[in-house]
Amino acid sequence: MAALREAEFAALQSLLKVSGVRAGGNGAPGPRLSALRFALRQAPSRDAVRQLCQECFSSPPAALGPLAQRACPGLAAGPVEAEQLVSALHNLTRHVVYRGLTRAEDILSLFPENFHQNLKNLLTKIILENISAWRNEAQASQISLPRLVDMDWRVDIKTSSDSIIRMAVPTCLLQLKIQEDAALCGNNPVVSALTVELSKETLDTMLEGLGRIRDQLSAVANK
């Protein structure tokens, strides 16, 4: 599957305006590029490109529109151009992370032949710098059941109740902090606390189950 469509690679080249990369790579520059060369007198900044790449990767598809609008002034691009660029960057970065590409050659080979050489190198460099952070980000925001965030316990001794006036029964209170699926909550993850009471018998049964899990895990790990 091709990483990006041809039009998207074309859109990426509008980064030339911002990146300070000098135009004049291989091949005859298309009409787009020659128009862009005049714009190179804009404030050049590799950091701006870096920043933009990061924002485009992290943004969910729905938020790309507003991101493009915010990026317009910095890019000295019209809204349509900015949107195409932002979308292309998003797709490119996500594709690299999806495929798990880690070598420069692999990333470079994604670009078409006539893509601006220096810009290609710059983008590849930026992607390589960020790839492992991006991978972790993808794994952290993966869909899952509610996740355990924290766990606390205390042991109480029950000394009396309405059914029996004097006793000394130890019991365990376990508090689990559970966070709902990150994808559903966006930036405000809902964390709920669940307090559960376990008798000694229940705890023993639970430990038996957990021990079995541990044994199976080590069996899997040793294969």
């Binding site: 996500r94 992370v97 999806y98 495929r99 798990g100 991978r135 993808a138 794994q139 925001s141 993966q142 869909i143 899952s144 059941l145 509610p146 996740r147 355990l148 766990m151 316990w153 042991v155 001794i157 029950k158 109740s161 309405d162 059914s163 029996i164 006036i165 004097r166 006793m167 000394a168 029964v169 130890p170 019991t171 365990c172 209170l173 376990l174 689990l176 559970i178 669940l194 307090t195 559960v196 009471e197 376990l198 008798s199 000694k200 229940t202 705890l203 023993d204 049964t205 639970m206 430990l207 189950g209 957990l210 021990g211 899990i213 541990r214 199976q216 895990l217 899997v220």
Partner: protein, 177 residues
């Protein structure tokens, strides 16, 4: 007034009910059988049984010794012989009865059951190849009279930490038993 032999039979019926409080049907059947066999009318028998049952329940609450139970029965007007017999039965059955009473004690969000599964995440929409292990627990919790299922996912390090903590809880509970 009930003759001794029948009294011991009645006591047996009573204690069987006390140790298995859910068997109400059986208890009532046995009571009416007893009434028919001994030519006693059921109504008065039930009343007697009700007042008799109050004694072990009160004894349980207050952790009475069998001596005290015997004394209570004598105070109620039972013959020494019968009271002693009942107190003996009480001594034999009290561990079971105590256990039942403790079991009835209030528990908040009691954990009833735990099911688990673990596996490997092969891929996702963001990452073609993942290869990470996940562990999912389903906790069945009693909230009031209803059962509620809670699903939680743990990473491997979290699992080991959880196991470690639960072992510490076990040590703590054992030191207090």
């Amino acid at each position: 007034r009930v003759p001794s032999q029948q009294f011991s039979a009645l006591t047996e019926v009573l204690f069987r009910f006390l140790t298995e409080p859910k068997e109400v049907e059986r208890f009532l059947t046995q009571l009416s059988d007893f009434a028919t066999m001994n030519k006693i009318s059921l109504g008065p028998l039930k009343n007697i049984v009700k007042s008799v049952l109050l004694v072990p329940n009160g004894a349980l609450k207050r952790n009475l010794s069998s001596e005290q139970v015997r004394a209570d029965f004598i105070a109620l007007g039972l013959s020494e012989e019968k009271a002693s017999y009942f107190a003996e039965q009480w001594k034999v059955n009290s561990p079971t009865l105590t256990r039942l009473a403790v079991g009835q004690t209030l528990m908040i969000n009691q954990l009833i059951d735990m099911e688990w599964k673990f596996g490997v995440t092969a891929g996702s929409s963001e990452l073609e190849k993942v290869g990470s292990i996940f562990l999912q627990l389903k906790l069945v919790i009693k909230k009031g009279s209803q059962l509620e299922n809670v699903y939680v996912e743990l990473t491997l390090p979290q699992f080991y930490s959880f196991l470690h903590e639960m072992e510490r809880v076990k040590t703590s509970l054992e030191s207090f038993s």
